[in-house]
Point group: none
Chain length 229, copies 2
Amino acid sequence: MHKRVLIVEDEASIRDMVAFALRKADMDVAQAADARAAEIAIADAPPDLILLDWMLPGMTGLELARRLRHDPRTAEVPIIMLTARGEEMDRVNGLEAGVDDYVVKPFSTRELIARIKAVLRRAQGDDGTGSVELGGLRIDGPAHRVFAGGTQIEIGPTEYRLLHFFMTHAERVYTRAQLLDHVWGGSVYVEERTVDVHIRRLRKTLEPFGLENLVQTVRGSGYRFSTSA
Amino acid sequence: MHKRVLIVEDEASIRDMVAFALRKADMDVAQAADARAAEIAIADAPPDLILLDWMLPGMTGLELARRLRHDPRTAEVPIIMLTARGEEMDRVNGLEAGVDDYVVKPFSTRELIARIKAVLRRAQGDDGTGSVELGGLRIDGPAHRVFAGGTQIEIGPTEYRLLHFFMTHAERVYTRAQLLDHVWGGSVYVEERTVDVHIRRLRKTLEPFGLENLVQTVRGSGYRFSTSA
DNA sequence: CGCAACATGACAGAGGCATGACAGCGCCGT
DNA sequence: ACGGCGCTGTCATGCCTCTGTCATGTTGCG
């Protein structure tokens, strides 16, 4: 019931303040001061969400984020990064993806909690089974099947992962780089234009059901899954 | 333009130090040594933000915060509390009272000002997600969408960036050179007159909604986004 | 009135994206 | 082992939107 959140942050005062705020918001909190402690904490009890400081002793938060993404046990756990500067954020946002959201320091606890809840809500419907339903589409996670209305859709593996990611991250634009990170996995080298092709293939399979406009192009930015035109 | 900040703090040395730092950061400062003086100062000229010390003679800062929240005239004014180390349990109470943020003593003026700016920014509708709402317009940052009233607006990439910059920097005149720097990015060579054209295009997309007068010309200086005609 | 600053419309070029084709690859049954 | 077969990544092409610039009309100001 209560969501479990892991805070990875070296500065004790921030860590404590955030921990108090989260407990107040009915969340279970685990703390870690560095990457090593974080991995131990994760092995101990896997969290539902990870708060990751940008600057950590030894290993940067970004490196840790990558390692977590590569580990199948933590690949699906959403990550929110705490960054120091607003300027770095844009660059980070474009280049280094694999993170679900950013919060820029200094932040108020109120704002942080709002963002955490937003991310957890987004992952909702993915109640462990990996099933989602949205905009006339339904994904049956365990059965690895997709339905439009009542009828089943034939869909390839990559399009399946792409659609699943979109449905669990709707109403939000993702760059091609971000999609490559989330859908293909960070450790492959693939042309960004390849994303276009799979978007095309996904649209094509949705077309017979009139659902191809769920996948929308945002010129100059990327793609977006949205239930509103 | 200049934000008005009220400091409620009984220790004169801290009060003066903070006041000095705030004035240097282009803010108007009012001071009060206790709760009674604070209420007089607020009645005199309502501030945009209140800095509240935890320990006050007569009435604790927390009580005062509750009273301010209860009064409709001050309910919307953000509050930042100054707490001493080791009062963490009290933070929880502060959250209940609707305090917006905390700064733990001892603090650097730099950090304090950063927090103040963050809270003020949020009070203006910027919650850190890149979304803004102002003058009948709303930008959904993550979804990369613009709404006028309730309906969505079709807008090009450059006009989007231009509008976003304006909405996050309203009520202030920017020269064409400044707009080129902020919206186009510093490393491009573009005629200054090009700005005029994009201003024109932005106005044109706002025209159907009667919002074109949000973008105002300041002859001899540049352009300004303002909610007041 | 005359000048400078700005508004407006038109236009050609650039660049982003959609689309269809194709070759490599792994998988499977024969 | 061999030959289909489905899937994937890349490329070439064409379309279409956006963009910067110019020419011309309009406005404000001394």
